[in-house]
């Protein structure tokens, strides 16, 4: 009716938005390119410059590349307006690495600003100049930092400290000592703010230079509470590491206690510990899970990866902590002062500081005082939702090792409906761990509430938690059972209504928990089994039914009631067999078989009838697993079944029958076997670390330093060799390996079989031949000795076993005696490597000119970054071809001076090749051409000129040749590999068929039959080496029970990326039968994840 009104309202609202946004930079963000930016940058007004810069920043924020304005922006760095400066700096830092040449233009201006009277200008200039990160100006920056480190302004000194890591990132060796010197100076600064920043610089520049800390240790401790919060976090870590490296662990601390428990029989000073324990009034066996806890402390020191891999050996090499590695908190001033100065930090507002301080106390504080960390940690739970999860992850570890710490605070872990699922799961786990006799009643009450939670996955977890609690506190078992039983009877599960999948999960979990509890003590829970069986009719979930039926078989002889009702139950399950799911059917079969084989006389006939009925049904089942098991049981139980018809079928000799009896006895009567406690393999990282949250060692994760690795004079160099010599931490001996590493890689040297059979050889575990290693770590069966014999004569084996590896003559001795068959030598392989040839120009298209190219493994003499390619020019025509040259496609327009390494062009470039003056018909010549690919994978467009004509061609890069061999031995390989876990590792698998032909060929001529493994190894190695420029580090041969099972065959290759010398490790593991196509898993460990991934794809490509 009133159109104007609507319009007005609309404009009004628009206007109000504009009013609201007026004076902000909204229009710049919304439409940064509505004016021409370039002229504004050259304007003489600061405000216009600002506007232009803001527009550029808006474009950066939106992800556009505006680096083309770089030269114009850099000019403005000399502006006097601080706002323009700030904006220019923001832009400059974003693009400096992309346009280093132009960035250099700004240096003079920075130099000038560094002498400005305004500290803010000085600080900003330093920050930006260091942030540009160019090798060329590094010495200048270093001088500037040195100057600023003595600046009167605290802020400038602080910025000098943060500039140091930027310089360090450039990895200029000649500067590093000066950088460390400046770090040292800044650490002694008077202002706590500077010390904090210096600590951060220390931890990234020279984290192991403990002498810098040693000099100032006391002062750093006392200044710690005044340092700004972010510096505190870093400084706490540094001080902790120093204290451990200097003084070792604290005798009264949790860590030591955990160790000493394990060695209590052997340690002499042990009585002392026990007396303290007695005083505190803690019964150690009750309060600590000793194995877990000792594992934790070792993980802190060794890193879980090392520790866990070592512990998988049959004998856990125990750490011999000598008394000297420990210190006492009472008389050690350094430890005392550290604990004293970190304790006020529990009151910090910053949760990261509190957690870091708690970590120090957890590791260093005497056990009696460790209680102090509990309240601050619990307070952290309330700080923010995001940190909540991280804190809980840490508390979980603390609680596992020392449940009593948190036992009285259980209500802090009660679950709120707003918690995330991960948080809920963590809280449940912690509640289970810390439950005690006094708290369990309340905790179980809580769990009952959780079971009604709308999140059914969580409800199922809660049910599982009830079971765990019952296991932990056997007193509560019956109460828990009652509750769980009541749950299974709940009408939501038993009613006819279809239950949702999640609902079924809760029920299955409940029955699993019941099963777990009953397992502890079956006779006393007989009635529970009876009740469950009674409910069988109403429980519809297949998995739940399967478990109950399993229990019937398992406990068929327990107590008095079950045997009586057994027959009825069996009849019932036999009757319902046809309608069950296959999972339940399988358990029914098991149960019937168990009962039958256990039965002694009474009701035998009925039982046999039931069994025959069920077995017959099973043999007609749709599911082949059920059919198979049916057949199997029929054969196995033929004597029990007692049917005549069957006996006709299976002619059972008495001997045979006896065997079957024994077999079935073994299969069905194993319940009494007590399982040995499973070794706990939690991964534990230092409290507060990222690795603890993601549960793998993040790059850069360092476990605590080895205790007492710095001498009392706190001089730096003294430690390393000494540490290795004592060998107390390395556990397994390394000394022997030295003599082998010296041996030439190409020679067929040392055949070392690590053999677990002989006790004496345990010491030799780490000695590995660089070429072939026959590993037996996991699957050495008695039968394997036969295979061993194949590989080397028995005499050799014996002489070798008797050999002491450290004997100086051993390697020579072996070289002469080494058997002939089971060795691959690199030379041998290298001769056979035939790099693939690709066609660049075929004679049909190229006027009779044929050009092929091969990637060469030689390192170019021009620049190490350049890939060399062998190109063969052949004249297939009948005329002479002259003036042949290979050029860039666009080289006509622009002179190619790509050899100049300063060229910032990152497009692939061809180093100009010499012209071939003429080529007679039929003549061929080979030229080496050099190409700098810059890691481009797209074909490089080139042009061949000859006889005045041009032919466009495409050169396809091969990523396999962007690397060069990096010789190393297995130890180094493993070490490097362990430093490149997680993100830096990628794996793919494929089918490898290359060896099948070779094997068939072998079959053809009988004169000389090679080992199948060798053929496979060679085949894989050849394929790899012919397609990529790699170094073959080692070949691990499997020693399996079977002759032709190649599973476990493992080849390791190493290489480094041409352009930046980043190592790239490749592991190829085969699986399958020798004579058939193998399943090959390829793993690439490389810091350059993208490169690694591309290389992996390429390898998989040519392997399959």
């Amino acid at each position: 009716m009133f159109p104007q009104f609507g319009a007005t309202a609309d404009t009004l609202s628009k206007a109000s938005t504009i009013m609201f946004r007026i004076g902000t930079d909204a229009h710049l963000y919304d439409d940064p390119e509505d004016v021409n930016i370039a002229p504004l940058l050259d304007s003489k007004f600061d405000s216009e410059k600002c506007e232009a810069l803001k527009r550029l920043l808006a474009l950066i924020a939106q992800g556009f590349d505006v680096s083309n304005f770089f030269p114009q922006v850099v000019k403005n760095v000399a502006s006097h307006s601080l706002e323009v400066k700030k904006l220019v700096y923001l832009y400059l830092l974003h693009y400096a690495q992309k346009r280093p040449n132009e960035a250099l233009l700004s240096i003079n201006s920075f130099q000038k600003d560094l002498g400005d009277t305004n500290p803010l200008v000085r600080a900003w200039a330093l920050r930006t100049m260091a942030g540009i990160r160019l090798h060329a100006i590094a010495p200048l920056v270093l001088v500037a930092v040195g100057k600023c480190a003595r600046d009167p302004s605290v802020y400038v000194r602080k910025c000098a400290a943060t500039a140091l890591p930027k310089l360090h990132d450039l990895r200029l060796e000649e500067l590093s000592s000066t950088i460390e010197e400046i770090v040292g100076t800044l650490l002694t600064d008077n202002s706590p703010a500077v010390v904090g920043a210096a600590a951060a610089a220390f931890s990234s520049v020279c984290p192991n230079n403990y002498s810098l800390i040693g000099k100032n240790y006391k002062r750093l401790c006392t200044i710690l509470p005044d340092v700004e919060e972010w510096g505190q976090i870093v400084l706490i870590g540094i001080l902790l590491r120093y204290a451990i490296a200097r003084h070792g662990l604290v005798r009264e601390s949790m860590m030591f206690h955990l160790h000493s428990k394990e060695h209590s029989s052997s340690e002499n000073d042990d009585s002392d510990v026990h007396s303290t324990v007695g005083k505190v009034g803690i019964d150690p066996s009750k309060k600590y899970d000793s194995e877990l806890a000792s594992m934790i402390s070792r993980c802190y020191i060794e890193g879980p990866d090392d520790y866990l891999s070592r512990s998988s050996y049959s004998n856990r090499v125990s750490l011999a902590f000598s008394g000297a590695k420990f210190t006492s908190c009472k008389n050690n001033e350094d430890v005392k002062i550290l604990l004293q100065c970190t304790s006020p930090l529990f009151w910090s507002n910053n949760s990261a500081v509190v957690l870091a301080a708690a970590g120090v106390h957890w590791i260093m504080a005497p056990r009696d005082n460790i209680q102090r960390i509990v309240k601050p940690l619990l307070f952290l739970l309330r700080s923010s939702r995001s940190s909540n999860y991280v804190v809980l992850c840490n508390i979980q570890v603390f609680a596992k090792a020392t449940p009593y710490l948190f036992a009285s605070h259980f209500e802090n872990f009660f679950i709120l409906s707003t918690d995330s699922y991960q948080t809920k799961a963590l809280k449940l786990e912690i509640l289970c761990t810390i439950s005690t006799d006094s708290s369990i009643a309340s905790i179980l009450k809580e769990f009952q509430d959780y079971i009604r939670d709308p999140d059914r996955k969580f409800a199922a977890d809660a049910v599982a938690a009830v079971g765990l609690c019952a296991l932990q506190l056997p007193k509560m078992a019956s109460t828990c059972l009652e509750g769980l039983l009541a749950l299974t009877r709940q009408d939501s599960f038993t009613s006819d209504v279809r239950t949702s999948e999640e609902e079924a999960g809760v029920l299955v979990q409940a029955i699993m928990s019941i099963k777990m509890i009953i397992k502890q003590d079956p006779p006393s829970h007989e009635k529970v089994i009876v009740q469950l069986v009674r409910n069988l009719d109403s429980i519809k979930v297949p998995a739940a039914r399967a478990i109950i039926i399993w229990m019937v078989g398992e406990y068929s002889k327990v107590g008095e009631i079950i045997p009586k009702m057994l027959l009825t139950v069996l009849k019932y399950i036999a009757w319902s067999f046809a309608s069950e799911s296959s999972e339940t059917k399988l358990q029914t079969l098991n149960t019937v078989a168990k009962v039958l084989s256990n039965s002694r006389g009474e009701n035998l006939e009925t039982l046999q009838k039931i069994a025959r009925y069920v077995l017959e049904l099973a043999e007609c089942d749709m599911n082949y697993v059920v059919r198979g098991r049916g057949c199997f049981f029929r054969k196995l139980l033929s004597c029990h079944l007692g049917s005549k018809k069957l006996e006709d079928e299976v002619i059972t000799s008495p001997e045979n029958e006896g065997l079957l009896n024994v077999l079935s006895e073994h299969m069905f009567h194993e319940q009494a076997i007590q399982q040995s406690p499973v070794p706990i393999n939690y991964r534990v990282y230092l409290p507060g670390s990222l690795s603890q949250i993601v549960l793998h060692a993040a790059p850069g994760y360092e476990p605590l330093p080895k205790p007492c690795t710095i001498l009392h004079d706190a001089d730096t160099e003294a430690d390393v060799s000494e540490q290795d010599g004592s060998g107390s931490f390395t556990g397994s001996l390394d000394e022997g390996s030295g003599s082998y590493n010296g041996s030439d890689h190409s020679v067929t040297s040392g055949g070392n079989t690590e053999s677990g059979e002989s006790g004496s050889s345990n010491e030799d575990e780490n000695i590995q031949d660089p070429l072939i290693q026959i590993s037996d770590e996991s699957h050495l069966l008695p039968a394997a000795s036969a295979d061993l014999e194949e590989l080397m004569s028995k005499r050799d084996l014996e002489t070798w076993l008797d050999d002491q590896p450290s004997l100086p003559n051993s390697s020579i001795h072996k070289e002469s005696k080494v058997p002939r068959s089971a060795r691959i030598s690199i030379k041998d392989i290298e001769k056979r490597v035939r790099p693939k040839t690709y066609e660049l120009l075929d004679p049909a298209n190229g006027n009779g000119m044929k050009v092929d190219y091969t990637f060469s493994s030689d390192v170019s003499n021009i620049s190490p970054h350049v890939v060399t390619i062998q190109a063969t020019f052949k004249n297939c025509s009948i005329e002479t071809i002259s003036n042949i040259v290979l050029k860039h496609e666009d080289s006509t327009t622009k002179p190619s001076d790509c050899s100049e390494s300063s060229s910032q062009d990152d497009v692939p470039a061809l180093v100009p090749m010499q012209e071939i003056t003429s080529l007679e018909p039929g003549q061929a010549t080979t030229e080496t051409i050099h190409v700098r690919f810059h890691h481009h994978l797209l074909p490089l467009k080139l042009v061949i000129y000859f006889n005045g004509k041009s032919f466009p061609v495409k050169l396809r890069p091969d990523i396999g040749y962007f690397v060069k061999p990096l010789p190393m031995d297995v130890e180094v390989f493993r070490d490097k590999e362990s430093h490149l876990p997680g993100m830096f590792e990628c794996t793919r698998s494929c089918i490898f068929k290359g060896h099948v032909d070779d094997l068939n060929k072998e079959k053809g001529d009988h004169t000389f039959s090679k080992d199948k493994f060798l053929v496979v190894c060679e085949s894989i190695a050849l394929t790899m080496l012919s397609n990529a420029n790699l170094f073959l580090v080692s070949v691990d041969m499997p020693i399996a029970a079977k002759h032709d099972d190649a599973s476990g065959l493992c080849l390791r290759f190493s290489s480094e990326i041409l352009s930046n010398s980043v190592p790239c490790l490749i592991t190829v593991t085969a699986e399958g039968i020798c004579s058939e196509p193998l399943n090959v898993a390829v793993k690439v460990n490389c810091e350059e994840t993208v490169f690694g991934l591309n290389l992996l794809n390429r390898i998989v490509n040519f392997l399959s």
């Binding site: 004076g23 600002c50 890591p165 991960q422 948080t423 009604r452 409800a459 009613s495 690795s691």
Partner: protein, 451 residues
């Protein structure tokens, strides 16, 4: 140009950087292992748009990580959203979500995760303080300020200046005056020309030369009460998390001392950096030089409280495909002051298909995600508020067997329910006159009643 020759280019400095692209995979300088902590911060809007990226080190992080992140978020839903630390294929990510804005930080190396999270929270706090709230629009409108703040707060992946008072002096927050000024004069510099004095003093949170005509200081006790009441109506946990918030406008460098009547009720405390530890350790006295303006002096926790101000009695009965629900709310222990802003919120179980809820007092809203909010405000004198109605269950369901948890919100002005009382506030260096004001407030925190 000639001066350039002073810095000859070595071959190693030939840096080549690629913004993105499939074919260009490795650049020369990017390989260098960065040992700094955070590499990049992204600000994402609630629709997954990258509003802003701030690269912190030379090793640039490509935006594609945000695409990966958002894809994961869409496919995994809420559980992913609440995961603060994520290991992506190339980076470790830390996320903090505030008011729909996702703050995403990337790193490739080991660092304390809480440090990253705490820092992101600090960034969020500072931004919402500067921009008076957080949403997509204000961030885009003030992106320059956001850039400048981020640059000042973090250098090379390590936090540099995070103290809000110093930041405010370095980078002026946008306010009406400056906005208008910029419109009029066309000049809108918000970057301070001088270094704030506080950066060099021994009390880095306070500028030295402040002058006020009236000296005043206000101390607020703001408490949040957490409680869990089980479905049997038993109070299993009741505690208070409180903050002492101070707003001070005092000339010069004052030295204040705050003491409590009953410090023994405090279970645990955390302090602003300005609080001296020693006096607290010996006498439980808060001795401090306050920052200028509003700040959080201390947070504390009081455990094992016995009385709750409100009762909420839910009752759910069900049969034959529908359930009857009734929720009664009333005052359990009168705190002596009026309780207002009372609200009860609960999530309807997923098996409920439709509802018919009415209340004899207040407003009932059922949101599309099945969240039901009942706003009561004050309890009337004459009758107890009652919410009642029926829940219709999905087909095939006979009875309700999962039960919602009720979250209760309320506010009591003038009372600190923990019982903590301020004794006195003393000023050591006495200016002419000092006006002191004290207030208290209690809110419902994680106050849950199960049914």
């Amino acid at each position: 140009q000639t001066k350039l020759l002073l810095f000859p280019l070595s071959s190693s400095c030939s840096a080549s950087f690629h913004s993105s692209g499939q074919t260009q995979i490795v650049s020369e300088q990017a390989i260098q292992r960065e040992e700094t902590m955070l590499q990049c911060i992204f600000l994402l809007s609630d629709s997954g748009e990258v509003m802003l990226e701030k690269q912190l080190t030379g090793n640039r992080v490509d935006r594609s990580i945000c695409v990966w992140f958002w894809d994961q978020l869409l496919s995994h839903g809420d559980s992913f959203k609440q995961q603060p630390v994520i290991a992506s294929p190339t980076h470790y990510l830390f996320q903090v979500v505030r008011e729909g804005i996702t703050f995403l930080a990337c790193t490739q190396v080991e660092m304390p995760p809480l440090m990253a999270i705490e820092f992101l929270c600090r960034v969020a706090d500072v931004l919402s303080d500067y921009l008076e709230g957080l949403n997509e629009d204000v961030i885009k409108d003030n992106f320059i300020i956001v850039y400048e703040l981020l640059d000042e707060m973090m250098d090379n992946g390590h936090p540099l200046t995070t103290e809000p008072n110093i930041l405010r002096e370095m980078i002026a927050p946008p306010n009406i005056v400056s906005k208008m000024l910029s419109v009029v004069t066309g000049n809108s510099s918000n970057v301070s020309e001088t270094l704030p004095g506080a950066t060099s003093s021994c009390v880095p949170w306070r500028t030295t030369d402040i002058k006020y005509a009236n000296n005043e200081v206000y101390v607020d006790l703001v408490e949040e009460m957490d409680a869990i009441i089980t479905r049997d109506g038993i109070l299993v946990k009741c505690e208070v998390f409180g903050e002492v918030q101070v707003n001070s406008h005092i000339t010069g460098v004052p030295d204040l001392a705050l003491s409590f009547v009953n410090p023994s009720v405090l279970d645990d405390v955390r302090f602003h950096p300005c609080v001296r530890y020693r006096p607290w350790e010996s006498y439980q006295i808060l001795s401090f030089v306050p920052p200028d303006g509003q700040f959080k002096l201390m947070s504390y926790r009081v455990r094992k409280l016995k009385s709750i101000p409100l009762y909420v009695k839910p009752q759910i009965t069900s049969d034959g495909g529908s359930s009857r629900i009734s929720v009664m709310v009333g005052i359990r222990n009168d705190p002596g002051k009026a309780i207002d802003s009372i609200s009860v919120q609960f999530q309807l179980p997923s098996c409920v298909s439709s509802t018919d809820l009415t209340a004899n007092h207040g407003v009932v809203n059922v949101l599309s995600n099945k969240t039901c909010i009942w706003s009561i405000d004050r309890i009337p004198k004459d009758r107890a508020p009652l919410l009642s109605g029926t829940l219709l269950l999905e087909n095939g369901l006979d009875r309700l067997h999962v039960f919602p948890t009720f979250q209760v919100g309320f506010r009591v002005q003038g009372v600190a329910l923990s019982g903590l009382q301020i004794d006195k506030l003393e000023l050591k260096v006495i200016p002419n006159r000092l006006y002191k004001g004290f207030r208290a407030l209690t809110r419902g925190g994680q106050y849950e009643v199960r049914s």
